[in-house]
Amino acid sequence: MPHSIRTGRCSRRSLLAGLGAAGAVAPFVPLLDSHATSNGFPTRLLTLFSGGGTYYPQWAPQGSEHDFTLSPILEPLTPYQDHLVILGHVRIQGSGSPGDGHQKGTGMLWTGSSLVDVGDDVLWGGGISVDQHIAQTIGTDTRFPSLECAIQPNVGGSAAVGGPSVWSRTIYAGSAQPIVPEVDPIALFDRVFSDVGSGDGQLDEIRARRRSVLDAVHHQLDAVAARYGTEDQHKLQAHLDSIRALELRNEAAVADCSIPSVGNAIDPDANENFPALSRMFIDQIVQAFACDLTRVASLQWARSVANTRFEWLGHDQGHHEISHLDLNKGYNRDKVIEINRWFATELAYLIEQLAAIPEGDGTMLDNTLIVWGNELGNGPSHKTRDVPFVLAGGAGGRLTTGRWLDFPDELRHHRLLVSICHALGLEDQATFGDADSGSGGVPGLT
């Protein structure tokens, strides 16, 4: 056959090329809107997920709340220690929920809700995730209510493990409604930045056609949905909601912001590209924040039970395999430490990028809350006790940083989810998730 298409990005990318893409991010110009903080800049939320647990004794800092030394795992964050809050002895309480430790930890991490069995033992998170909940409030003024990114969320398993599953999804629109993340940073770039900085007629033409097409799709979905029963109707309704979101975006003003540079296309499935993918996603999330294209984002490094091979650290075994080794042996333990330290390095890079963008008297880091979580505590035990949580950034002044908050008697992670809401301005949030006992936020955090 004469034709062939490998990718659908040509049109958008060539459009970009004609616009002279690349360049520094323009400083954000404060807007007066309902969700900006007192300094006029919006507060952003970025959740980070890495899986497989950690090695707690080498993760927990030493010292007191305000005078502490970072552990080997978190040591790469030392330059930004004053911008951190580290929470010790946090537990993801999953009693009563179906699923094993991996499943519960992953599905409950940001939802705080017990898993639900949708039939035939297929499990999903049982509620909306905290970022999506917050996006419903602070995401309404931006072009994208939120951005979900994941690096190789499906890699490292067999046919049955790969693909969408409770192990590979952390972000939820609601019970059993996992949100599919973007896995290709180039595709993310095309989605988020393709229209940015463009004011010429070509874009108007594209928008006019999209308007007409989306309207036609919308009407057809309406007609079909009317004929389906309740079981399937929610699928068509979700599709309609997404079409509406695309329609709104098509009409929204394009941000006045320089288009960031983006690297060359790389294979998002190749193990060796994992570090590059991490940087590409981080760069774009930072730039999307800077351009106020979104205020809520998530980045998921791999997935639960991922077998990413950290060959750039000299490892020849996969992550999940390593996490099951006997950590009483030094050479096994070192690998777990190295992997988790690598994630800390990525966080340090992220913080560095945020701190480099001036906003008012401070930087974007001051107006951002980063929360880095995990689905397990110590890997081999599959336990969801001592789950490592690190917070970074000032959340627009709502978070007092430079602290090591240890809870020797255990802190249920629901309280952190409540505090995240508080830090993003949802001050009335009393509980989060169905398993929350209602004891409020983390004591003394916000």
């Binding site: 297929v122 599919v180 036609a216 979905l221 007609a223 997404s242 395999e321 099951h324 599959h382």
Partner: protein, 606 residues
């Protein structure tokens, strides 16, 4: 769920090294936790009253209807048949093909899979594409790809938008083959209308409703006004490719064909045509099928048989048969296979691709040149591969190969069918060593349709490090000494040990850790297959003759054909399909033929 995609069991199945298969300590693979009943009850638990070996009584009840020829398709063919309203105006209840009341399971709304999307674009527009690779991954029903569970997210809808825009732009670069009329002759509006009608029928796999026609015409007019005829066509195509009728398997049923039950409807002839084409071709119906639907010629068995025979003769059928078997063997992600370079320096992506091609070629050969029997699929000792790396795995010299199109015979003492194809063996192995556990679990789940549960949360499954001079078998034998582990591993490991002659790439080996391979194994807790065996060849021959495997294959084809799991209400369909399969001597096409004629294929429950 009696399948390998049981998420709780999935931990067992990874192709990558996991603790459960690491020797030395408890591997803690339990059927639904330690407190459930011991096998075999616990093992059959996933079938819970569903069609399976425990429901023989029901099977016999169903068999009674089989001697009446007309009962095979039911007296009333839904597609294109009369209204089913009798003289008094009362709906005449549609009887089950098994006699008695018609019951079928609910059919969830499904989106096209990635492969179906690409194939449909190819057949609709003549554009070869792998655009769907950029879509979010397909969900699975059992081992099979099917998107019927979770609603789409905005990202996915956007991916459809991006793809539709790219495809439409590509398609209008040459309007000649796309548009039958000449806008300069018939006028752009009239020509646009003609295009909408003809393309609409193929893109939506049924004639457009008047409302749809109207919507598409206004899209065309907007494009025409903005940028001319080509722009109008482009806008229409973009719309069609994002419409629910294109992206979903819409199955609304035929309101003109009452079944006597409010909750059960007969599919329309066009919906049957789509089910047929996505089953046999994994793609859209062609004009002949759509014409047959329009003419009401998909109602009686001979007509369906004729269509099936015609469709099976098309090369697309071989492709789809290969897809089924790759998914059934849980080997459809060989492109992501990784091996440890230290132990397998010869492994590379090209070999992984060649291993997939070999499986495809093997299946195609079985159906095109062989008898298409399950037993052939499970026992034939041939390779169709001409790839030097694959042949090297067999210890064959590429120059000794047969003529083009002729498969190379393999040593029947060493190879037997799908289970001993290197691609399947490599998929169910670790990166650096074989995996009796993964191979045993695969046989239990995918060939016997028995489900396995994951380790209980609190079991300490930290394995001890492997000893360099103990065989894999020794180390696994050691960890099954623990009674807590033994409960499950005695169901799994003795099957997997039969595969110990094959390393992590599927190459045959005589030794492990310097000692001769012991490939003796045992089947337990099966329905008539129990007993010791030696090696995967004997195992494959035993499985090939097994009624339990035939039943499981019937279930697997049901799942693949309908994109959903079976439920109790599908018993009649499964029973008749299995009976046809058995009567034919295990001919897979006889099984598919029976499925296509079944209640569950032709009716849906709302």
């Amino acid at each position: 769920m009696a399948s390998n995609s049981d998420p709780r069991a999935a931990d067992l199945r990874s192709s990558t090294p996991m603790a459960i298969d690491r020797p030395g300590r408890c591997a803690s693979v339990l059927f639904d936790g330690p407190h459930r009943a011991p096998y075999p009850e616990a093992m059959r638990m996933p079938s819970r009253g569903q069609w399976s070996t425990p429901v023989l009584v029901f099977l016999l009840g169903c068999y009674q209807g089989l001697n009446e020829p007309e009962a095979e398709l039911g007296p009333q063919a839904p597609a294109g048949s009369d209204s089913g309203i009798d003289d008094a105006g009362e709906p005449e209840p549609e009887p089950s093909a098994c006699g008695g009341e018609l019951v079928v399971g609910p059919a969830p709304l499904r989106r096209l899979t990635a492969t179906q999307y690409d194939h449909t674009i190819r057949d609709l527009l003549g554009i070869e594409t792998t655009l769907a690779d950029s879509f979010a991954d397909d969900e699975r029903i059992g081992p099979f790809r099917s998107n019927g569970t979770t609603p789409v997210a905005t990202l996915q809808v956007e991916q459809y938008q991006v793809a539709a825009e790219a495809i439409a732009a590509e398609a209008v670069e040459d309007l000649g083959p796309l548009v039958a009329c000449d806008p300069t002759v018939s006028g752009p509006t009239e020509c646009g209308r003609t295009f909408i009608e003809s393309m609409g029928r193929r893109a939506y796999r049924r004639p457009l409703t008047p409302q749809e026609h109207e919507i598409l015409e206004s899209v065309f007019t907007a494009g025409l006004d903005a940028g001319g005829f080509s722009e109008g066509i482009q806008s229409v195509l973009e719309t069609m490719l994002q419409s629910p009728a294109f992206l979903y398997h819409l199955e609304l049923g035929d309101p003109e064909h009452p079944t006597g039950r409010d909750d059960i409807v007969a599919l329309t002839a066009y919906e049957i045509a789509s089910r047929l084409s996505y089953l046999v071709w994994n793609s859209m119906p062609d004009d002949a099928l759509l014409d047959a639907a329009a003419a009401g010629q998909l109602g009686d068995p001979e007509q369906i048989d004729a269509q099936l025979d015609r469709m099976w003769a098309d090369p697309r059928a071989g492709d789809a048969l290969a897809d089924f078997h790759l998914q059934w063997m849980a080997a459809d992600e060989l492109d992501e296979l990784q091996k440890d370079p230290e132990h397998y320096p010869d492994f590379n992506a090209e070999l992984a691709a060649a291993l997939e091609d070999e499986i495809r070629g093997f299946v195609s050969w079985t159906f095109e040149h062989g008898d298409g029997d399950l037993s052939t699929l499970l026992t034939a000792a041939i390779t169709p591969s001409r790839d030097p790396q694959v042949l090297a795995l067999y210890g064959l010299d590429p120059s000794e190969g047969q003529g083009v199109g002729e498969p190379t015979p393999l040593d029947p003492e060493r190879r037997a069918g799908l289970l001993t194809l290197p691609g399947v063996l490599a998929q169910h192995a670790h990166a650096n060593q074989s995996s009796p556990v993964h191979r045993g679990v695969m046989v239990r789940q995918n060939l016997l349709c028995q489900s396995l549960a994951p380790p209980p949360e609190d079991v300490d499954n930290v394995p001890s490090d492997p000893s360099p001079d103990a065989t894999t078998r020794d180390r696994l034998e050691e960890h099954t000494q623990n009674p807590e582990c033994r409960a499950c591993h005695e169901l799994i490991d003795p099957i997997g040990f039969g595969f110990e002659h094959y390393d992590a790439l599927g190459a045959y080996r005589e030794q492990d850790a310097g000692r001769p391979i012991d490939a003796s194994g045992e089947l337990v807790a099966t329905d008539g297959l129990d007993g010791p065996f030696i090696g995967a060849v004997e195992l494959s021959h035993r499985l090939a003759e097994s009624n339990e495997v035939q039943q499981c294959v019937t279930q697997q084809w049901f799942r693949y054909a309908l994109g959903r799991l079976e439920v109790d209400d599908d018993d009649c369909t499964l029973t008749l399909a299995h009976q046809a399969f058995e009567t034919s001597g295990g001919d897979v096409r006889a099984l598919v033929r029976a499925l296509v004629r079944s209640d569950s294929f032709r009716f849906i429950r709302r």
